[in-house]
């Protein structure tokens, strides 16, 4: 199994498309960092919703932790597309090259083959997140320094600012990245599932992106019947659940409670739902792949 995984990772590492995601993330993060370094006035755009309600010391707001939070807020919506580039190619890319039939004439069970491909997709996802963490968190910390994190939050019709002290932040980022890894693994499982049915990689990549877009739109519709009956079942409703780690609980005197989260059960339930999606999608991929006739 380890040897198979090594081979799979080696193949992924040799494909130019693998590095598109890393380049895209590096480009976006560096542009945002450079823009804020050059002109912190960009913050006014972000603060326009809360500026009337709260007095905010802008000089104190911009720091490494804040930059990372903002970058994650922007990027984690787009990363699924980048994950689909690799996971959507896993089976269909082999079919397109003709190597799938060669691979399947080797004495390896189909379950192992698809299992290794899924594992490799997860490793790719985690590698992408680690890369993002290095740039968005640690590079931002180096450029902008560290201070307390102010989290701006829209809660119903109200705006809210939560202050997290700098010694209470790092674990939240590790937790958020771990949560994001699970959320993005759903995308990898979806792309892999679609990849089983296709003979070229464009189809599953585009289909994955379309499904994410459609489900995101449905997740964001404020229609009661959808909110109640459909939204809870869509994985896209939980993709931004990582933010829950930054919604710190506050006591009766409106003072944030260090090391706390406002709603851990909601985060836990979101994780379970995401894991259920992964199980169903990967299980489906295995079921169909085992029975697939290789005709190409």
């Amino acid at each position: 199994m380890w040897s198979l995984l090594q081979i799979e990772l080696y193949k992924i590492s040799k494909r130019p498309r693998t590095y598109i995601a890393f380049l895209a993330i590096a480009g976006i993060v560096l542009i945002i960092q450079a823009a804020f370094k050059a002109d912190p006035g960009y913050l006014n755009i972000l603060l326009q919703n809360v500026g009337d309600t709260f007095e905010v010391d802008k000089g104190k707001v911009i720091n490494g932790y804040f930059m990372c939070y903002m970058i994650l807020n922007t990027l984690l919506i787009q990363v699924p597309i980048l994950i689909a580039l690799v996971a959507g190619d896993a089976i269909s890319g082999e079919a397109n090259m003709g190597t799938l039939r060669l691979l399947l004439t080797k004495p390896i069970s189909r379950i192992k083959i698809i299992g290794v491909k899924f594992l490799a997709s997860i490793i790719y996802t985690v590698a992408l997140l680690i890369f993002m963490a290095l740039l968005a968190l640690f590079l931002s910390m180096a450029i902008f320094g560290v201070d307390d994190l102010l989290v701006f939050r829209a809660k119903g019709d109200e705006s809210q600012i939560l202050q997290i002290t700098k010694d209470d932040i790092m674990w939240r980022y590790f937790a958020a990245f771990a949560y994001a890894a699970v959320a993005l693994t759903v995308i990898a499982a979806l792309a892999l599932f679609l990849s089983v049915f296709a003979e070229n990689s464009i189809g599953p990549i585009v289909a994955t992106v379309c499904i994410v877009i459609v489900c995101t739109i449905i997740s964001n519709l404020n229609i009661p019947i959808i909110d109640k009956n459909i939204r809870p079942w869509l994985f896209t409703s939980y993709l931004v659940g990582w933010k829950g780690f930054f919604y710190i609980a506050i006591d009766e005197e409106n003072v944030p409670i260090k090391g706390s989260m406002e709603n851990w059960p909601a985060i836990r339930n979101s994780l379970f739902i995401l894991l259920a999606h992964i199980a169903v999608l990967f299980g489906g991929a295995v079921w169909f792949f085992k029975r697939k006739d290789i005709l190409t």
Binding site: Y10, T105, I294
Partner: protein, 307 residues
Amino acid sequence: MLDVKDLNKNFEDFEAVKNLSFTVNEGDVYGFLGQNGAGKSTTLRMLLKLIKPTSGKISFSGKNIANDNNEMLRQTGAIIERPDMYKFLSAYDNVNIFAKLSGIKPTRKLIMDQLEMVGLADRFDSKAKTYSQGMKQRLGIAIALIHAPKLIILDEPTNGLDPQGIADMRNLILRLSREMGKTVIVSSHLLSEIEVIANRMIIIHKGQKIVEGNVSALLDPADTVVEINTTDNNAAFLQLQNTSWQSHLQKTNKTLRLKMNKADVPKILQTLIGMQVEILSVQPRHSLEEYFLSLTNNDTHVEPFTN
């Protein structure tokens, strides 16, 4: 070595393979002959577990391959339709990867020896996408043979090759069989190709077996049809009716056809020359070849061939 019994494959309503049974013995070069769409590739893919049979049984060394824990695949090398490889990787990487996938731990020497055997050692580090079709075919062979399989399955291995490539492939198949003792199953839609490399063969048509047996017996020279074209075929036909060749004559509108032993061709020519018939062309064909050509040219129902 390989025993196929009552194999069937249906794709929805289409019956691609129907009750196909055949046996491949150890050391055979077994020719799998049929026109395009006859069911050759589907059958070979079922042997390689790429396609699941609708019904039937495939046994390798006495074990049903459905329950053999991939033992047959461990001892099989294959090229299906075209040589497959990772084109973004070098020849060395390709052979290395597929050796590992075949369950062996290849040394650098083993890989280089294999590439040397197919004449690619000097380009071992070049990406496969830079190779010519012939080089890809040779790399495909290196990949298929790296784990020293007992059984080699080659589906239309000469497709897309130039005449030199076709000759090289034939020689390689003969070497694999005669010098290395491998069992080879090779499919083709050309009888002439099977005739020169195989010792046993099967012809399938529309998914059904037409005939199976030893090539030497099936292509017995005593069972030849000679087509002779003259300046006046009708006159020549009438003249031959008054000779001892009468019983060999077959009625046809276009040419003279005689069913006879191939060794007697000079005699019939002498007879015709003696009758001052001007001969334009002579084409001896084995009756099996005649029959196979009739399959290719005629898509209507064909009765099974009887030798």
